[in-house]
């Protein structure tokens, strides 16, 4: 099956570590993906917040291009992008009037036969757990990892159709494959504040703080995520949250692709781990990638 890749804007900017690491592990796994030619922004939260038609038309253009190029499956690693692509696909499949309006605007047909996968789905469904397990050359034994899912990977369940919306486990399973210990905690699917990071920073820091302090309380060494926006809030805003609540957190936030890459024995530099605001040195020392 030909696999299309929809990077989305964040992976080309603030979350470049996500793209670097995912391309690296897919290379190691010998899986080929191709970027959708001339892809455009999916409109993210802004489009659906104030203009429903735009929120369908923008992702639809990407899906239609991919379909026209003969792809049947799209990987959208950003949780927000995968959410918007899946939502557009779902609505176009179930609403013929909307479909006519949208395809007229983008001037391309769309048969709505595309399969859209988020990063976790792609790793589990397309790559497969056995193959991932066979690639683990350097088990991350002794490392305690909290998987943070946030909202968009699992909700709304009727459209995302992925894992359990209240207690997802897919990322914990991937963590388990690396030999690390998956830490259970309460805030797995609580919202980090998402798009309001710039417009309501105090609210975002309160919500993200709840998540980080709960993870800390449960003894994790680090957090893994599969969403650039979650990563931004948990990583970039962490120092500020520590100052605001006068309590140290010190939790490195890695993308799941980086954790897998480490367990495959890939050099942390090739996974862009040094691109994070919260240094992962303590974690790298623990797994012997840096001298103690």
């Amino acid at each position: 099956m030909k696999l299309a890749y929809y990077p989305g804007c964040s992976l080309k900017g603030t979350s470049f570590e996500y793209e670097v690491s995912l391309l690296k592990i897919l290379e190691a796994l010998n899986i080929e993906i191709k970027e959708i030619p001339d892809w455009n922004c999916c409109g993210a939260s802004a489009a659906h917040s104030i203009n429903h038609n735009l929120s369908i038309a923008l992702p639809a253009r990407n899906l239609a291009i991919a379909e026209g190029e003969g792809y049947e499956s799209v990987l959208a690693p950003c949780a927000a992008c995968s959410n918007r692509l899946k939502t557009a696909h779902h609505e176009l499949k179930s609403d013929d009037i909307l479909k006519k309006k949208i395809t007229d605007s983008i001037e391309m047909p769309y048969n709505a036969d595309m399969e859209i996968n988020n990063m976790l789905e792609f790793l589990i469904k397309i790559v497969g757990k056995d193959k991932i397990k066979s690639m683990v050359k350097k088990p991350l034994a002794g490392l305690k990892v909290a998987s943070y899912y946030g909202c968009l990977l699992v909700r709304p369940p009727k459209v995302m159709q992925f894992d359990d919306p209240e207690n997802p486990v897919s990322m914990d399973e991937l963590v388990g494959l690396t030999g690390a210990e998956a830490v259970d905690y309460s805030y797995k699917t609580e919202c980090c504040g998402a798009i309001n990071s710039l417009s309501k920073p105090d609210v975002v820091m309160a919500l993200t703080g709840n998540v980080l302090y709960d993870i800390k309380k449960h003894g994790a060494d680090l957090v893994v995520v599969a969403c650039p926006l979650c990563h931004s809030n948990l990583d970039v805003r962490q120092r500020e949250i520590e100052r605001k609540y006068s309590e140290k957190i010190g939790l490195p936030v890695l993308f799941i692709t980086e954790l897998l890459g480490l367990s495959f024995g890939i050099d942390p530099k090739d996974l862009a781990i040094e691109g994070h605001m919260v240094a992962a040195d303590r974690v790298l020392k623990k797994i012997g990638e840096l001298p103690k």
Partner: protein, 182 residues
Amino acid sequence: MKTVINEQNRRNFVSQVEAMLHDKLSKCYQCGKCSAGCPVNFEMDYTPNQIIKMTELGMEDKVLNSKTIWLCVSCNTCSTRCPKGFEVTGIMDVLREIAEKKGITSKVEKEVQMFHEVFLDNVKSNGRIFELELVGKYKFKTRHLFRDMFLAPKMLEKGKLKMHGEKISDLNQIAKIFKDFE
């Protein structure tokens, strides 16, 4: 509190919302599950279940000018847990869109609204988001020039802030999409 202003206006507003939402307001039996689990309820002026009831009662001005519709981050916790399967998250999108189309500028949460507008402008002009330009324009519009600026040096050092954005080649098509739907 004055509730029903005019029965005809009430009906018009309810029909408009229900048509855009593809759902019935009367499904909601006010259990409050949506509001209990809402992560931003502490900042809202009306809880999500109040917004649903107020919409049904035709309190158009109050809901369209509420903080709630702009504070909602569309996390979908409410819709996921609603025992009636009502589109709680969806109604927030619909109310924001109606407010936007009516040209209502939120007095209480104008920064959230501005962020969405600046974001879409950025998509319109580049086809993709150029983060630095987006943040710059947003800061200029809101006059919060220095908020979060302390993050910039380290983000630059880490390579997180790209100095150049990417434009897509078929910008005409993006322009057409915006022209059709704006």
